[in-house]
């Protein structure tokens, strides 16, 4: 006799009426790399609302969407938590900036959450 199997996480979400989260339509970058020929965007590091600083250290726990970056001159800031993919992307960019060791352009919201990261 076939018995129902245990539902997967995504099936449970559907069963609970949460549905499948559609990919969020995000914005597009507005800054250009330092020294790039392009002139469409603002110069990196000079844009309003952005901190141009090195990322000194990284932090995470086994909790969901809980990646943090330690921004030089600013301190620990949590990465935006709107979704798994977006959070993972920011964590990866934070890690890339940490590995490179040069200044990234970072947008930190009024709620102290990291909204955007440019790695140069």
């Amino acid at each position: 006799m076939t018995v129902p199997r245990v539902l997967t996480e995504s099936e449970l979400s559907l069963a609970l009426g949460k549905g499948v989260t559609a990919p969020q339509v995000g914005g597009r970058p507005t800054l250009d790399p330092p020294g790039a020929a392009a002139t469409a965007g603002a110069a990196a590091g000079a844009a309003a609302g952005f901190v141009s600083a090195r990322i000194l250290s990284l932090f995470t726990t086994a909790d969901g969407r809980n990646g943090w970056i330690n921004v030089e001159g600013v301190g620990w800031r949590r990465l935006a938590t709107a979704g798994d993919s977006g959070h993972t992307n920011l964590a990866q960019l934070g890690a890339a900036a940490r590995m490179q060791g040069n200044a990234a352009s970072i947008n930190i919201g009024a709620d102290d959450v990291v909204r955007e990261i440019y790695v140069w």
Binding site: R28, T39, A82, N89, I117
Partner: protein, 366 residues
């Protein structure tokens, strides 16, 4: 008896020398060969009347002072925008009435580079594909010539491949054939905009998107143009021609045009044509608002990475190509793409990416 050269010199004397004339590779051709390069069929009487009506309005526009609320700047030159040159090399159509293909492709190349703010994009599209494939499908030949409106419409509907996939020779005398992979190496125009008879909108379009294509009547004195602002002073009507307009200058009262008669003609292949001259604003002026590219980039450096925390919204900046979104067909796809781009960025390695309309679809990291 007065020679043509003497007549031209006398006419330029009388006009106060608005421009300079000189012998060039085109003046050395036979009269028939010169006319063969004029690939825009002259309009019939009804169309001439419509052009004349538009031309009167254009002249009235130019006679008025520059409006204080003009949207476009007083001067623009896509060859020098903050030091960046967005105009591709001058080419030579040779012995074929294919100027419309050259004028249209020039607009696509400049618009693609300028709207991306990438002067080193170095896009080189195939005039042969436009003329010998798309044009041929509607009966166009070297002898019939064409018009830019249908040509750019085909660039919108079908697209144009790159030069290396269908190299141009006059009359396709080189016997080139279209590479079968052309749908994967393709430029397609975004919206096609008809600006005929509207000088203010032509300027606005050029300064926003980089270039437009324009048809005008060629008189005999146009062939020996060397420099200065061309205004018709003598000689009869020779035919219709198409160029791309890549700039303008209100102080000089002229358009800056890129011709397709080689760099040995005119001012390095370019010509300044006076506002209102030869019906250049009144016959057919067409632009595009963008160019979608579908092709491999070839090796390129990753200069930047970006995300705003939105779902599947990671971007990479490829040198000379600008910002591209990474494919986000699933979380895993996006994560893998970003991982590989990050590896290239951190290690300073080059990538080769297949991009489709600004989205990276496939990537190699070396």
């Amino acid at each position: 008896m007065t020679s043509p050269e003497e007549s031209l010199n006398a006419a330029l004397d009388a006009a106060g020398h608005p421009w300079q004339a000189a012998e060039n590779p085109i003046t050395q051709l036979s009269e028939a060969e010169r006319r063969r390069r004029l690939g825009v069929p002259l309009p019939d009487e009804a169309e001439r009347a419509a052009i004349a009506t538009r031309h009167e309005r254009v002249l009235a526009f130019h006679a008025r002072p520059r409006p204080a609320a003009a949207v476009a700047p007083a001067a623009f030159d896509a060859r020098d925008v903050a030091g960046g040159n967005y105009v591709t090399d001058v080419r030579d159509q040779g012995s074929c009435g294919s100027c419309v293909a050259f004028g249209s492709v020039s607009v696509l190349e400049t618009t693609a580079a300028f709207t991306r703010r990438q002067p080193a994009l170095e896009l080189n599209l195939s005039e042969a594909h436009l003329f010998y494939a798309h044009g041929k499908s509607v009966g166009v030949t070297c002898d019939t010539g064409w018009l830019p409106r249908p040509a750019l419409r085909m660039a919108h509907d079908i697209g144009i491949t790159y030069e290396d996939y269908f190299p141009y020779t006059p009359g396709n005398s080189g016997g080139a054939t279209l590479n079968g992979d052309w749908p994967n190496r393709l430029a397609r125009a975004s919206d096609v905009v008809d600006l005929t008879g509207k000088p203010d909108r032509i300027k606005e379009h050029i300064s926003t998107y980089g270039a437009v294509t324009a048809c005008f009547v060629v008189f005999a004195d146009f062939f020996p143009y060397r420099s200065g602002v061309y205004r018709h002073v003598t000689g009869g009507e020779e035919g219709g021609h198409c160029v791309s307009l890549v700039g303008y200058d209100d102080a000089q009262g002229c358009w800056i045009a890129k011709n397709s008669w080689g760099s040995g003609w005119g001012d390095g292949g370019f010509v300044r044509i006076g506002y209102g001259q030869c019906e250049i604003e009144s016959w057919q002026v067409v632009g595009v608002t963008g160019v979608r590219l579908r092709a491999w980039t070839g090796t390129a450096r990753v200069l930047g990475l970006w995300s705003d925390g939105a779902e599947r919204n990671a971007w990479t900046y490829l040198e000379n190509y600008g910002w591209h979104r990474l494919a986000g067909t699933s979380d895993q796809v996006q994560s893998t793409m970003l991982t590989q781009m990050t590896a290239a960025k951190v290690a300073g390695r080059q990538v080769n990416a297949f991009t489709d309309n600004g989205v990276v679809d496939t990537v190699y990291v070396y």
